[in-house]
Amino acid sequence: MKRNLTLLKAFARGLWLTLALLIVNAPLIIVLLVSLSSSPIFDLPREGLSLRWYAKVFQLDSIAGPLLTSLQLALSATAVSLVLGTACALGLSRSRFPGRDLLVTGVLSPMMLPGVVIGIALLFYLRALGITNSFLSLFIAHVVITLPYIVRITLAGLSLFDFALVDAARTLGYPPVKAVIKVLVPNLAPSFVSAAVFAFLASFDNYAIALFVGDIYTVTLPIQIINYLSVSTDPVVAAIAVILLFGTLVSLLITERLVGLQRLAGG
C-alpha cells in the first residue's frame, strides 16, 4: 500500500516535470516543426515534411552576409572583451578603494539595463566621438555588452584563486607578468571558457543595440532575420532559428564537457 503510494508520487513528479519541460520548450519544438514543413508559408507541417528551407538558407545571399558580420563581431568583441575584462576583473579583485563597488556595478550594468537605453546612449556617444564607420561602432557596442559577462565570470573565478601561487611563481624565477600568465591563465581557463561562451552568445543574438548603432551597410544576423520576416513569410527563418539553436546547444555541450556545468553557470 505504502509502496504503491510512493510509486504514485514518483509518477506524479515525473509527469509534472515532463509537462513543465514541454511547456517551457514548446516554442522551440514548434519552430523545429515549422522549419521541417513543406508548406511555403510559416505554418505547422500539415502537408508533409521537407528539408528545403534548410537548403534555401544556404542559398540566400541576404543571410550569408549578415551571418558573417555577426560572427566577425561576436568573435572580435569576445576576444577584446576577454583581455579587457580579465584586466578589469584582476584590478577589481586585487584592490580595495572607495567607489570600488560602484565601479563594479557600472561595469556590470549593460547586463541589466534595457538594450534600448544602451543603444540610444551609444548612438549619441559614438556620434559625439565622430565615429561613423558602422562596423567599428557595432564592434564598440558589442564590447560594451560582452564585457560584463567576462568581468562577472572572471571575478567569480578569481575569488577562488589563490594569489600566493603567483608569488610562488615569482620566487621560482618568473617576472611578475609572466608569473601571472603561467599560473593564473591555466587555473582560470574554465572561467575564461565559460565567460567567452556567454559573451559570444550575448553578442551573437543582440538585436536592440545593433538596431541603433548599425546601418544598412552593416547588418547583423538578428536584424536581417527581422528584415526578412517583414518581406517574406516562408519558413526560412524557422530553419535559421533551428540552426542557431543547434549551434548554441553544441557549443554549450562542448564547454560543459570542458569545464563542467556548475562552473559554466556560477563561474
Binding site: 589563490d162 610562488a168 620566487t171 621560482l172 624565477g173 617576472p175 587555473n187
Partner: protein, 385 residues
C-alpha cells in the same frame, strides 16, 4: 634511518649552495643582512626598524604571535613586498631593489601554494624551467629532489591527491630544486597534526643541514622554534625583541614579551626596594626576593622565573652555599604533564606562580597546603614593566 641519511648525503653534491662572490673584501659581513627595515600599510607600521643578520648555513627562526609581521618580513626579504626604508643585503651585495624573480631564494609558503593544475613532478620542475635549465637534465633533478623528501615515485600524482604532510614535502622539494641561496619557510607545519609535525621538524632540519642551507623559518610555536633553530628572533608588533640562541632565549630572555612567549613561567609584579651594585632587593606580594639587574630603587618591575628553576625548599638541588630566593606559597593545583608535573600556586592579580617537578617526586605534595619553594638568585629575571 641510515638509508635516509645516505640518500641525503648522496644528493648533497647537487644541492651545495652556489659559490658566493665575496667581492669587496667584506668577508666579515653576515650572509643575509636586513638593516632598519620599516614597512607601513595605510599608516599602520607593520615592520618597525627591523634588523637581522643571518650567517651562512645557519637555521634562524622568526618566532612571534599571529599578526606580528613575520610573513611581511619574509616577503620583504624575498622581494615579494617592498619596504619603506631599510636595506636587504645578501652575500655582501645590496639587493633591496632586486625583484623576487632575480633573488633566487626558495620560499615555502604558509599554505604551500602548490600549483593545482600541475603534477607533483611538474611542480618541482617549475622553477627549473623558469631558470631555463637544460631540459634534458630536468627529470633527473626532479627525481633527486623528490627522493630527498622521500616522495620518490610520486611524480605523476596530482597535488590534490596528496596528504598535508606530502604536500609540505613537495613544497620543500620545489623550493630546493632551484638551488636557492637561502630558504624561507612560512609556518610550514601549521596545517599538520602534532605527531606528524614533530617527525617533520626533525626530518626537515636534518635535510636542510645536510645541504648546508641558510634558513629563515617562521613559526608561532615556541617549542618548534626551540627544537629547530640555531638562533631565534622573537618578534612582537613589528619589532624584533630578542635575537639569540635557543638556550639564551629560554634562560636569559631580553624582554618580558620574549620571556612570556617562550614558555609558561612564574611572573610576579614587584618593586625595587634596594639596589646594591647590580644586586637588587625586590618586594613581591609573597615576600622579598633578590635578583641581579640595574634598576633604581622605587621602580616597578616584573620578576620572572622559569618553572624548572623552582623547586621545593630543602630538596637535593637546594644545596647549601648557593645564593637562593625562598618563598612560602599556597599550592592550589598539580597539573600532569607527562614526565613532569606543574605545581600552580595561589597568585594575585596578573601574577602567575608555576613550578615544575619530576613526576616521581609527586607524592611529596598535597594540594591546598602551604609549600616552601626556592630557586637560585641567578635564575631570577627582572624586566621593566
Amino acid at each position: 634511518m641510515l638509508d635516509t641519511v645516505a640518500k641525503l648525503q648522496g644528493v648533497s653534491s647537487i644541492m651545495q649552495p652556489q659559490p658566493i662572490d665575496r667581492a669587496g673584501g667584506q668577508t666579515s659581513e653576515a650572509f643575509l643582512k636586513l638593516e632598519g627595515i620599516t614597512r607601513r600599510i595605510e599608516q599602520q607600521t607593520i615592520l618597525d626598524d627591523v634588523s637581522l643578520s643571518v650567517e651562512e648555513g645557519q637555521f634562524i627562526s622568526l618566532l612571534g604571535p599571529s599578526g606580528c609581521g613575520k610573513t611581511t618580513l619574509l616577503r620583504v626579504a624575498s622581494g615579494l613586498a617592498p619596504c619603506d626604508s631599510g636595506t636587504v643585503r645578501l652575500a655582501g651585495m645590496d639587493i633591496t631593489g632586486v625583484p623576487a624573480h632575480k633573488r633566487n631564494m626558495g620560499v615555502v609558503f604558509q599554505n604551500y601554494a602548490l600549483f593545482p593544475h600541475l603534477s607533483v613532478a611538474e611542480n618541482v620542475a617549475f622553477g627549473l624551467k623558469a631558470q631555463r635549465r637544460d631540459r634534458a637534465a630536468i627529470p633527473s633533478i626532479v627525481a633527486e629532489c623528490l627522493a630527498m623528501v622521500q616522495l620518490a615515485g610520486f611524480g605523476d600524482r596530482r597535488i590534490s591527491s596528496l596528504s598535508g604532510g606530502q604536500q609540505q614535502r613537495v613544497a620543500v622539494a620545489r623550493a630546493l630544486a632551484v638551488r636557492p641561496k637561502l630558504v624561507l619557510l612560512d609556518e610550514p607545519f601549521s596545517a599538520l597534526d602534532r605527531q606528524l609535525r614533530e617527525v617533520m621538524q626533525i626530518e626537515l632540519r636534518r635535510l636542510l643541514r645536510s645541504v648546508n642551507m641558510t634558513v629563515i623559518f617562521v613559526t608561532h610555536d615556541q617549542d618548534e622554534a626551540l627544537v629547530m633553530s640555531d638562533r631565534i628572533a622573537v618578534m612582537n608588533r613589528g619589532r624584533i625583541e630578542d635575537y639569540s640562541d635557543p638556550a639564551s632565549i629560554y634562560s636569559r630572555p631580553k624582554s618580558l614579551f620574549a620571556f612570556d612567549f617562550v614558555g609558561l613561567s612564574t611572573r610576579m609584579a614587584a618593586r625595587v626596594v634596594a639596589a646594591d651594585g647590580d644586586m637588587l632587593t625586590l618586594d613581591t606580594k609573597y615576600g622579598s626576593v633578590r635578583a641581579k639587574g640595574r634598576f633604581y630603587p622605587g621602580t616597578s618591575v616584573i620578576v620572572g622565573v622559569r618553572p624548572e628553576s623552582i623547586g621545593p625548599a630543602g630538596d637535593k638541588s637546594d644545596a647549601a652555599g648557593e645564593d637562593r630566593n625562598r618563598l612560602k606559597l599556597w599550592l592550589t593545583d598539580i597539573v600532569f604533564q607527562g614526565s613532569k608535573r606543574h605545581l600552580h600556586f595561589a597568585a594575585q592579580e596578573s601574577d602567575r606562580l608555576v613550578a615544575e617537578v619530576n613526576s616521581a617526586a609527586i607524592n611529596m605534595f598535597e594540594p591546598d597546603s602551604e609549600l616552601s619553594v626556592s630557586w637560585r638568585v641567578q635564575d631570577t629575571l627582572v624586566f621593566p614593566t
